[in-house]
Assembly symmetry: C2
Homo-oligomer: 505 residues x 2
C-alpha cells in the first residue's frame, strides 16, 4: 500500500496535470482575444468547452476526494502553512466547492450566461433595462441556488464572494467600505470645489501608437516584467493572463488621441504580471503556487499603476523619456502639469473611466446593490432607481440613461456577482502594503526618481508573491503590515496627493 | 440497446472530440513557433505531451474497437464511398495502427527523437556524421520494430510509407521514380549545358520585408485564401497548420536581400491552406473531412507555388504589381527577365534551396537510400559515401562535407523515414492534376494573366478538396485524370518550360 507521502505526490501530480490542461485552455482564450481569425470562433468555443469539461471531470473525480480523506489528519497537515498542509487544505476547499454544485446547475449557469450576455449587449445598446431585467432575475436565482449548494455563514453574499476573495465576508467589507465612504465623499467634494482643474487637455493630443507601445514596453521592462517570459499584445479588452511558469501574457489597446489608457493599462497589467512571475514555479499547478485572491492580485496591479506609476517621483525619471518620445506633442508641457493631468480627480458616470479616488465610490455602490438584490431586499425592477439614487448621493451625478448607469458593466450578465468589491479591496491592500514598503525601504521616491524599482519589487516578491496561497489575504495583510485591512492608508494616500495637487485636505 | 445509427453517431461524436483536442494541441504548436516567449518552452512541452497522451488514450480506448466491430458489416458500410463507410473503414485502419504499436515503443521513439535531434544538430554543426551515426542506427532499429508491429506486405518500407502516403508502395514508387529519373537527369543536363543563364542576380537585390509581406498577402488572397478564416505570420520554419474549420494558419520568413523564399513560400503554404479551407467542415473531425495523404496535400502547395506561381501568365498579371511595390529595385527589369530568374534551374547541394526540376533528384536519392538502410542492405556507416555517390551521379555534384550532404535534413533525426517521397509525389500529382485542369478549363493562362484564379480553385475544390478521405490518392488520381500516377505530366511541364527559357528539349 502506498504510504502517505506517495499519496500526496500522486495528488500533486494529478493537480499539476489538471493545471497544465487549464493552461492550454488559457492559451486558447488568449489567442481568441488577440490573433484568432474571425471565422474560428465556433471551433474555439468547442475547444474551450471540451478542455473545461475534461478539467472539471478530472478535478471532481472521487479519487481526489479519497486521497484528501487519507491525507487529512496525516503528518502532512500537522504543520500549519507547510507546503503540503496548504495544498491539502486548499484542495479540499476547492474540491468541495466544485463537487457541491451539481453539473446541471453549472450547465444552466453557463447557458444562461451566454444568453444574458447577449441580452445585456442589446439592452445596453438601446439603453433599455427592461430587456436585461428578466435575465438578471434569472441569473440571481441561479446564483442563490449556487450559494445554497456551496453553503455559507452570515450573508448569502459570502457564498459568492468566497470564490473571488476567499475568507472575506460581506459583513467585514460593509464595515470597511462604510468607513471609507465618508472620508472619500468628503475629499472628492473638496477637490471638486477647490477651483483647481488638472490640465487634462494635454493628454488628448496626438500620441502615435507605435511610440505609446515603445514607452509602455520600456516601462514594463523597467519595473521588472520579464519579456523573455511574457508578451504584450493588442486586444480590445486589456488583460493579463499567466499561462504558467515562463509564460505570462498581457494586452492593451492604443488610442492615438489619448495618453493614459495604454500606458497606465500596461503598468496595471504588468503589476498582475509581476505577481504572476513572482509565484514559485516549483509549486505551479498546486494551491501553494497559486495567487491568493482577486483582491491581492488587484493590489499588485493598482500599486504599479497608481501608487508607483502616477507618482511625481516616477515621472521625475520618466517624463524626459516621454518628452523625447512624443516630441512636439509635449514641447510646451512641464513635469508638474503632466503629473497634475494624469492625477485628475473628477466624478464621472463610468467606472472604467474614473480616477483613482472616485473609482471606489463606483464599487461601493455596486457592492451595496449586489447584496440587496441577492438577498431580495431590492427588487430587480428597482435597480435602476436605486443605482441612480446612489450615484447622486456618492458622486453627485445622474446618468442620462441606464446604458451610462446600471447597464454599463458586463459582470452581472456573466453571473460575476461578488466580484466588484475585489477592485476596491485591491486599492485598499495596495495602499496598505505600499505604506509598509515605504517604512521598510526608506526613500522610495528617491529610488523611483532614479528609475530604481528593484527594491520595491524584491519586497513584493519576498513578502507577497513567493507565498502563493500559503496565507489568506487577511492573514497576509496582517503579517506584512502588522494590522487588519484598513481604509486609512488609501485615504491618507489620496489626501496627500489632493493636498499637493488641489491644495485641499 | 442502441441501434447501429446511434452507435455510429456516438463514434463520430467521440472522433470529433478527439480531433477537437488535437486541434487545441495544434494551437500550442503554432504558438510555439510564432509567439511563445522563450522561457515558456518547458511548460509548452508539458502541455503538448499531456494533450497528445490524452488524445492517444481516447483513440486507443477499447470502446472504439468495440464500436468498430459492431459497425463493420452493418448497412452503414454497405455502400462503398458513403460517408459512414469511409469513416468506419478509415477509423479501423487508424485504430489498428495506433493500437498495434505498444505504448512503450511509442515512448522510446519519442524519447529517441528528442536525443537524436540534439545529436543531429551538433553533428551537422561540426559536419561530423560519426556523431549522428549511432542515433540513426537506433532510430532505424526502432522503425523496423514499429514496422514489425504494424505489419506490411512487400518491402518493409511500406509499413512506414503507409502513415504518410496510405496505399502507396515502395514497389510502385520505385517504378515511377525510376521512369522519372532518366528523362529528368537528361533534361537537367541539357539545361546546364545550354549556355543560357537565368538572371538570378535580380532576385538578390533589396526587397523590404514589409513590401514582400504585402505582396505575398495580396497574392494569397487573390488565389483564394480566406484571411477571415486564417492568418499569415512569421516563423523560422515556414508551415501551414489547419486547426479546424475557420482557422488555418500559415507562416513564412522574409529575407530582405532575396526575393523568392517568402513570396513563393506563401503561395506554397496557401496551396496547403486552400486544400484545408476546402475540406467539408461538417465532416471535420472524421476521416471523411480529413486530407488524404501528404502527397496529395503537397500537390496542392506545389501546384500553386510552381505551376501557377512561376508561370509566365501569373506574372503577366502580377509583375506590374511587383514593380509598383519595389520601385527602384525592379526599374531595369522586364517581365521576361523576371520570369526567367524565378525559374532558374541549376543543380545544387541543398534540397530546400533547389528548383522545381532538380528538387526531385534530391528526393529520389533519399528514397533509394532510405529503402536500403531500412532493409539493412546499406550499413549506416556507409550512408555518407552512398549519398555522395548518388549526388555525383544524379546532379554532378560532390558535397564538401556531410553537413551539406547526408546531414542536411532534419527528417531522419525525428524518425520521419518514408516521408521524403511525398514531396516528389506532390510534384507528380500536381502536374498530372494540372494537365487535366487545363483540359477541363480551357485557357488557364489567359485567366491567370487577368488575375482570375477562381476557376482553377473551384475545379480543385470540386475534384479534390471536398472529397476528404473518401478516395485514396491512387483512386483519386485515376478518377480525376483517367489514368494512374505517371511521371510524364511533370516531365512534359518541365520540358515545356525548359524549351521556352533555355531553348532545349
Amino acid at each position: 500500500m502506498p504510504n502517505v507521502t506517495d499519496r500526496y505526490h500522486n495528488l500533486v501530480k494529478t493537480l499539476k496535470e489538471i493545471t497544465t490542461l487549464d493552461s492550454a485552455a488559457s492559451l486558447l482564450s488568449w489567442d481568441e482575444q488577440t490573433f484568432m481569425p474571425k471565422k474560428g470562433a465556433e471551433l474555439r468555443a468547442n475547444q474551450a468547452s471540451l478542455l473545461a469539461r475534461m478539467s472539471h471531470e478530472k478535478f471532481t473525480d472521487s479519487w481526489i476526494g479519497e486521497m484528501l480523506r487519507e491525507l487529512e489528519g496525516s503528518e502532512l497537515t500537522r504543520e500549519r502553512y507547510s507546503d503540503s498542509e496548504v495544498n491539502i487544505r486548499w484542495t479540499r476547499r476547492l474540491y468541495d466547492r466544485a463537487t457541491k454544485v451539481p453539473p446541471k446547475l453549472v450547465e444552466e449557469m453557463s447557458r444562461t450566461a451566454v444568453l444574458a450576455y447577449e441580452a445585456w449587449v442589446a439592452a445596453r445598446k438601446k439603453a433599455d433595462y427592461k430587456e436585461f431585467q428578466p435575465w438578471l432575475q434569472k441569473t440571481l436565482e441561479l446564483k442563490r441556488e449556487e450559494a445554497k449548494c456551496v453553503g455559507y455563514k452570515g450573508h448569502i453574499y459570502n457564498a459568492l464572494l468566497d470564490s473571488f476573495e476567499p475568507d472575506e465576508t460581506a459583513e467585514n467589507l460593509t464595515q470597511v467600505f462604510a468607513a471609507l465612504r465618508g472620508p472619500l465623499v468628503e475629499l472628492i467634494g473638496k477637490i471638486t470645489s477647490s477651483g483647481r482643474k488638472a490640465p487634462v487637455e494635454i493628454l488628448e493630443r496626438k500620441y502615435p501608437a507605435a511610440m505609446q507601445e515603445k514607452l509602455s514596453r520600456e516601462a514594463a521592462a523597467k519595473i521588472g516584467f520579464d519579456f523573455e517570459a511574457g508578451r504584450l499584445d493588442v486586444a480590445v479588452h486589456p488583460f493579463c493572463q499567466g499561462l504558467g511558469p515562463g509564460d505570462c501574457r498581457m494586452t492593451t489597446r492604443y488610442d492615438e488621441n489619448y495618453f493614459g489608457d495604454a500606458f497606465f493599462g500596461v503598468l496595471h497589467e504588468s503589476g498582475h504580471g509581476l505577481y504572476n512571475q513572482g509565484l514559485e514555479s516549483e509549486h505551479w499547478g498546486t494551491p501553494r503556487g497559486e495567487y491568493i485572491s482577486l483582491g491581492i492580485h488587484e493590489s499588485q496591479s493598482r500599486m504599479w499603476e497608481n501608487l508607483v506609476g502616477r507618482s511625481a517621483s516616477f515621472w521625475r525619471f520618466y517624463f524626459p523619456k516621454a518628452k523625447d518620445a512624443f516630441g512636439e506633442t509635449l514641447r510646451d508641457v512641464n513635469e508638474e502639469q503632466w503629473v497634475f493631468a494624469i492625477n485628475d480627480v473628477r466624478p464621472s458616470l463610468i467606472r472604467t473611466e474614473s480616477d483613482e479616488a472616485t473609482y471606489n465610490l463606483h464599487i461601493l455602490l455596486r457592492f451595496e446593490l449586489e447584496q440587496a438584490m441577492l438577498s431580495g431586499d431590492l427588487a430587480v425592477a428597482d435597480i435602476p432607481a436605486a443605482w441612480n439614487e446612489k450615484m447622486k448621493k456618492y458622486l453627485g451625478l445622474t446618468p442620462p440613461d441606464d446604458s451610462k448607469g446600471c447597464l454599463q458593466d458586463v459582470h452581472w450578465s456573466g453571473g460575476a456577482i461578488g466580484y466588484f468589491p475585489t477592485y476596491t479591496l485591491g486599492n485598499l491592500y495596495a495602499a496598505q502594503f505600499f505604506q509598509q514598503a515605504r517604512k521598510d525601504l526608506g526613500d522610495l521616491d528617491g529610488q523611483f526618481s532614479r528609475g530604481e524599482f528593484g527594491n520595491l519589487l524584491s519586497w513584493l516578491r519576498q513578502n507577497i508573491h513567493r507565498h502563493g496561497r500559503r496565507y489568506s489575504a487577511r492573514e497576509l495583510v496582517k503579517k506584512v503590515t502588522g494590522r487588519e485591512l484598513s481604509w486609512e492608508p488609501l485615504v491618507a494616500h489620496l489626501k496627500e496627493k489632493a493636498s499637493r495637487l488641489y491644495g485641499v485636505n
